[in-house]
Symmetry: C2
Subunit: 336 residues, 2 copies
DNA sequence: ATCCCAACTGAAAACGTTTACAGTAGTCGA
DNA sequence: TCGACTACTGTAAACGTTTTCAGTTGGGAT
């Protein structure tokens, strides 16, 4: 691979001139240099440049699982914005494991300028680990510790959960089932609590046996729904905390022959592919994954720009709106 | 950020000893060095290392669109394997555009050791562009030019298409509709031709007006199905060339109230999330996206290992099997 | 003709590593 | 006690850039 010395020699100038012309400065022999570059197929070495400049023009993106469509869309959003500024993204999946996450970051951190992360755990050790990186960090969807100290992007879980509860109440439901994600994550906790709180404000109590809490996974959704089917609670409406659990739940409900919305109204957080094609197109609280990616990337790029500057911008906390997409999986409860 | 000199000074040794101990060699003052590293929070600078070694420990992964679940799964597969060897992956989406692809690679190539790509175009200019990179390349799913000269991983499109046709024939269908992807891609072309050929061998001709060819997109699928609905051809079975087009087609069919499989048997290439939950769970030819990723990564890692060695292993061409997953979207044609 | 200044140029240092090379201890056998 | 060998150590060069600094050139004003 040709290097800058080869180009300089061929063009009959010093390497400084080549570097300068590449940087866009005025140089007398620009034409000769351009030709030499072309002839040799020269491209500047990224490592050398990174070493000299202390910049890498890349952003690490850590998500629990890149093959999850929601995270894939998020990554796409980050990528779109990063590209416009000439940044590349290095993607890795943590599998919801703190250990994997911290090992990944240990390896990646020296090759990137900033980190966008959906943290696996919200505990304080994650906060410390991220703080130790000494680089701009933006948290997406979840937070870490009390006082995270990082920029933050997430959707408005509270008003989504409230909208869901209000909608079901307005249809006349009195008896509910709930499948919620891990309570040690913000989306899991907020969606769960606000939903319950909204019902409570309407004077409705949800019995413990109608509440299932576990992993944000399709598998847990399937098991939870199965348990609800096996031990009937008389619920007429089921609220599920995210799309993957919802898919699992639908699998169980379908297998058990539960008719939706005839026997059970079904509503979940997060839209998903084809929700509109199911036997009963599913009503959802949808969120803008790509826009979340955009917001996260914008924040990071701003911080990167700022590096070294004396005044630091205050931390930002962007909350994106969600919306209730009404399809056909909810109706008034059967009068019995 | 502390560097190796700081560590050496604190430990009272030369930088060479630090470097050696990091490389796992025996060093007398290992303990002191370890402590110094810990105290200073030292981590080797990746750029310097990359510069010195000419290695980057990263692989560029270029897919048409990372937010497409199939590609997301593929990326996941590549990532899983790469990680085990300490390689990171740099992901970028080409949007099916050659220009975007070549620009991306131009920027990325100096920061990576190898490239895994689902090329946007199969033409010769893509082949030349990739060859000019002078790094290991593995093509996934599609090829470039005649004689690509790169490792290749894809699924067995031909036997999948044949299985699909045979299955529909065995159900008694005589009149078909086809929605196929771009014919300038291997999956588009092979699936289309083999399906037609299998029908032809059974003495069945598909009229031109029952054949729609276009982008591998949900939108094209929707439009194509709409056209087939608007201009009835008497087809009793519809074969769709991939999952995104299939989803679009299902949207149109559903909106038009076409009952599946009552009025129309439906079969497509590539499984998708929830295919089993639709009104008529969809029968598909499914393929192993994650395994494709594994195969691609393995090939690349092998080549990277080989760099500089005099003898080159011959190019590999891995073909992964597909399977017919029979659900409920196909039945015998209505007798009329 | 002289001087000054703007506009450019090149040499060299620096970024943080790895590694070839040339030592220098320390151990062991004689 | 000596020498030979082993096992480690440090110095310095190299990787390919960018950038500072100290020129050099040429043109315009005097």
């Amino acid at each position: 691979m040709a290097n800058i010395h080869d180009v300089a020699k061929l063009a009959g100038v010093s390497i400084a001139s080549v570097s300068r012309m590449l940087a866009g400065e005025n140089v007398r022999s620009a034409e000769a240099i351009r030709r030499a570059i072309k002839d040799l197929g020269y491209r500047p070495n990224a490592s050398a440049r990174g070493l000299r400049l202390g910049k890498h023009h890349s952003i690490a993106v850590i998500v629990p699982d890149i093959s999850n469509p929601y995270f894939a869309a998020l990554v796409r959003g980050i990528e779109e914005r990063a590209m416009t500024q000439g940044f590349r993204i290095i993607v890795a999946s943590s599998d919801e494991q703190f250990s994997a996450e911290s090992e990944l970051l240990g390896n990646l951190i020296d090759a990137v300028d900033a980190v966008a992360i959906v943290p696996a755990e919200e505990g304080d050790r994650t906060r410390r680990m991220l703080a130790d990186l000494n680089k701009p960090v933006v948290l997406i969807d979840r937070t870490v510790g009390d006082e995270p100290g990082f920029d933050l992007v997430h959707v408005d879980n509270a008003s989504g959960a409230k909208a869901a509860a209000d909608y079901l109440l307005s249809l006349g439901h009195q008896s509910f089932g709930i499948i919620s994600g891990r309570q040690d994550t913000v989306p899991g906790r907020v969606r769960h609590r606000v939903f319950l709180k909204t019902l409570a404000d309407a004077g409705i109590h949800v019995p413990a046996e109608a509440i299932k809490i576990g992993e944000f996974s399709r598998d847990f959704g399937r098991r939870a729904a199965q348990e609800l089917i096996d031990n009937p609670t008389g619920m007429t409406a089921l609220f599920v905390g995210n799309n993957t659990m919802a898919q699992g739940a639908l699998l169980s409900l379908h297998a058990a022959g539960v008719s939706i919305p005839g026997q059970l109204s079904f509503l979940c957080f997060d839209d998903f592919d084809l929700a509109e094609l199911l036997q009963a197109p599913v009503t959802v609280i949808s969120r803008p994954a790509i826009a979340e990616g955009h917001a996260a990337a914008d924040l990071l790029l701003q911080r990167i720009e700022q590096i070294g500057s004396p005044t630091q911008l205050p931390l930002e906390h962007k909350v994106l709106p969600v919306s209730l997409t009404i399809r056909q999986s909810c109706s008034a409860p059967a009068s019995d």
